[in-house]
């Protein structure tokens, strides 16, 4: 059984004039110690997906259907009290901006000790010892001294290390990292990413990495999900998707990487923009931007089909598979 299994998750936002669907039938699973990448443009629903795994979507959002099974128990149907025991303790989360994630008026030590004491009956002294230990693990020099410092006394990279240490405090099974390096400068990004990866491997923690950086995903994750307009449009082993993307959107994303273009040539871009939740086009949400779009694409939403190890929702891929089969039948 997978550690985390999300089945057909629907998340909606109740706003004036009806519900907006933010997540539509999301399904994926995460095994112990596995590293999963979640990519998509801004507004694709990546962060909403992360928050709904912890059943923490802010009002007016709500889980409209589906299951989030963590060790077989459904987080979507759990009481707030039981959820609190899982949040931070079994599933931790790392946010984008280290400047904003730490409470500016509490010392690092207070915040760490508090996080431990929220979940364990333990003396402050022991909690401090754990905190020092974790700070050392994320390679912060003189951790005892850091405990008495305030967040503003640390640099951005240092703060993100502290945040990773906080995420690791209670030895969680899963860490959800929502663009953990976006707010850092490029030299530090690689360092922090390597550190996070290292720690997850050492402690056998499953990592769900949310990012719009395909480069990072291809280096870090074993499997990846591509999201578009609240829907997973392609998922499978990272290497297969990067080398041979099936969905036209994923292909577009990969072609848009600067390293894919010829020197001096214009960079490729996917025409148009992601539809807002208020007017998602009928059929496949990507159809207005897709060069393969047919009437079928505009009419109905494609179901998932398998292409090798990859599961993808696209009629064009279906057609290609059908053609391939025909060719195979004709020429045995």
């Amino acid at each position: 059984m997978a550690l985390l299994e999300v089945n057909n998750l629907d998340v909606r936002f109740a706003v004036r004039g009806g519900d907006l669907t933010a997540l539509r039938g999301i399904s994926f699973s995460l095994d112990k110690g596995e590293r999963l990448g979640l990519v998509g443009e801004s507004g694709a629903g990546k962060s909403v997906a992360a928050f709904s795994i912890l059943n923490l979507i802010a009002q007016p959002g709500y889980i409209a259907g589906g299951q989030i099974l963590f060790e077989g128990k459904d987080l979507a149907a759990m009481s707030e009290r039981e959820l609190r025991k899982i949040r931070g303790n079994r599933i931790a989360m790392i946010f984008q901006d280290p400047m904003m994630t730490l409470n500016p008026v509490l010392t690092i030590g207070t915040q760490m000790v508090e996080a431990i004491k929220a979940h364990r009956r333990i003396s402050s002294k022991d909690a401090r010892a754990i905190a020092v230990d974790k700070l050392r693990k994320v390679q912060i020099p003189s951790p005892e001294k850091r405990l008495d410092q305030y967040p503003h006394e640390l640099s951005g990279g240092m703060r993100q290390r502290v945040i990773i240490a906080i995420a690791l405090l209670l030895d969680p099974e899963i860490i959800i990292a929502d663009e953990p390096t976006t707010a850092l400068d490029v030299t530090i990004q690689a360092e922090i990413m390597a550190l996070l990866l290292d720690l997850c491997e050492q402690e056998n923690v499953a990592l769900m990495l949310i990012t719009h950086d395909l480069g990072v995903v291809s280096q870090v994750s074993q499997r990846m999900l591509v999201m578009y307009s609240g829907r997973i449009i392609e998922q499978g082993p990272t290497r297969e998707i990067i080398n041979d993307a099936q969905h036209p959107y994923t292909q577009g994303l990969i072609n848009a990487l600067p390293q894919m273009g010829e020197p001096g040539a214009r960079l490729f871009q996917i025409p148009g923009a992601m539809p807002s939740l208020k007017n998602v086009p009928s059929g496949c949400p990507f159809n207005p931007r897709c060069s393969f779009a047919t009437d079928e694409c505009r009419r109905t939403m494609p179901e998932y089909v398998r292409a090798g190890n990859v599961s993808v929702a696209c009629y064009e891929v279906e057609r290609l598979i059908a053609q391939e089969q025909q060719v195979r039948e004709v020429t045995p």
Partner: protein, 310 residues
């Protein structure tokens, strides 16, 4: 433990608050004056030459003696005496004590109510917010004086004048505290609304903290600076409110005078030349309120760099 206290003092010494305090002469002067007044109020029983509450010490023959330096003054009463023969210096010291107690007490009550309701309204939002803020609006639409008159009348009728003297101070704290809590509640609510959108609140939720803990431990400390600023100004306001109520005869009884009731008690004699009975406590009241407001202004400038002196 030793190192912790040392570093705490070092932190204060290195802080911006201390730095700007050192450079602001008005703030220093106001603080010294306020400190002197608070200390002399606290130690009034030791400093005052006589105890104005002790009726046995009062001699009616000493009434309306002028302050030292005027003809007919008595060296035993440096600031003169009031119409009942009480030493003005002693009554002013004791009166400042009463005024300050009411000022601080009322603001503490305001702060408790205001912070509690402001946090709840701001953090919970929705219906809780709507209900609490409408209660605050209703509260604000009653004037403090009107509430005081009604409550005071009820208290006086039900406890009798003698008992009333004993509970008057608590009643005033209650009235002023309850009448003014919406000011603090609104300030707190506004900053909570801004704070709760920040990522550290999400992070706290993700860590599995209880709602209470997030509200009081994580959000509240971040809203403290406006509370300090408005709290300081509210102390001055509470003292003025108390003086106004006492002047109208709705506040402290004359046997246990505050600055306001001293002003009132002298007001009847101002025409007959005994100006000091009204003027001296009046001056003390003005200085007290002025230094508190000056400190409040300084605090506002320091804690909110976006505001400029108006």
């Amino acid at each position: 433990m030793m190192t912790a206290t040392v570093s705490r003092w070092a932190r204060v010494r290195d802080s911006f608050l201390w730095y700007s305090f050192k450079r602001d002469k008005v703030a220093i002067a106001s603080f010294i004056v306020l400190l002197a007044m608070v200390l002399s109020a606290i130690f009034a029983p030791l400093l005052a030459p006589t105890n104005p509450y002790d009726l046995a010490l009062i001699d009616i023959m000493n009434s309306e003696l002028p302050p030292v330096g005027m003809s007919g003054a008595d060296g035993a009463f440096p600031l003169g005496t009031d119409a009942q023969g009480r030493d003005m210096l002693s009554t002013i010291l004791y009166g400042t004590r009463v005024s300050l107690m009411i000022g601080f007490g009322a603001v503490i009550l305001q702060a408790v109510l205001g912070i509690l309701f402001g946090l709840l309204a701001g953090y919970m939002g929705g219906r809780v917010d709507a209900v609490l803020m409408r209660i605050a609006d209703v509260q604000l639409s009653f004037s403090t004086l009107m509430v005081a008159i009604i409550v005071g009348a009820v208290f006086k009728a039900s406890f009798g004048s003698l008992m009333f003297g004993e509970i008057a101070i608590y009643m005033l704290i209650f009235i002023i505290g309850v009448a003014e809590w919406p000011q603090i509640a609104r300030t707190v609510r506004a900053s909570v609304l801004a704070e709760k959108k920040k990522e550290y609140v999400d992070a706290a939720k993700v860590m599995g903290f209880r709602t209470n803990r997030i509200m009081f431990r994580h959000i509240l400390p971040n809203t403290l600076s406006p509370i300090f600023v408005i709290g300081t100004v509210q102390i001055a306001n509470a003292i003025i409110s108390e003086a106004a109520l006492s002047f109208l005869g709705l506040g402290m009884p004359e046997t246990q005078p505050s600055l306001g009731s001293l002003i009132k008690s002298g007001f009847d004699y101002i025409q007959s030349g005994s100006w000091w009975i009204t003027l001296l406590p009046g001056l003390v009241l003005v200085v007290l309120v002025l230094v508190i407001n000056l400190l409040g202004d300084w605090l506002r400038d320091v804690m909110n760099p976006r505001l400029y002196k108006g």
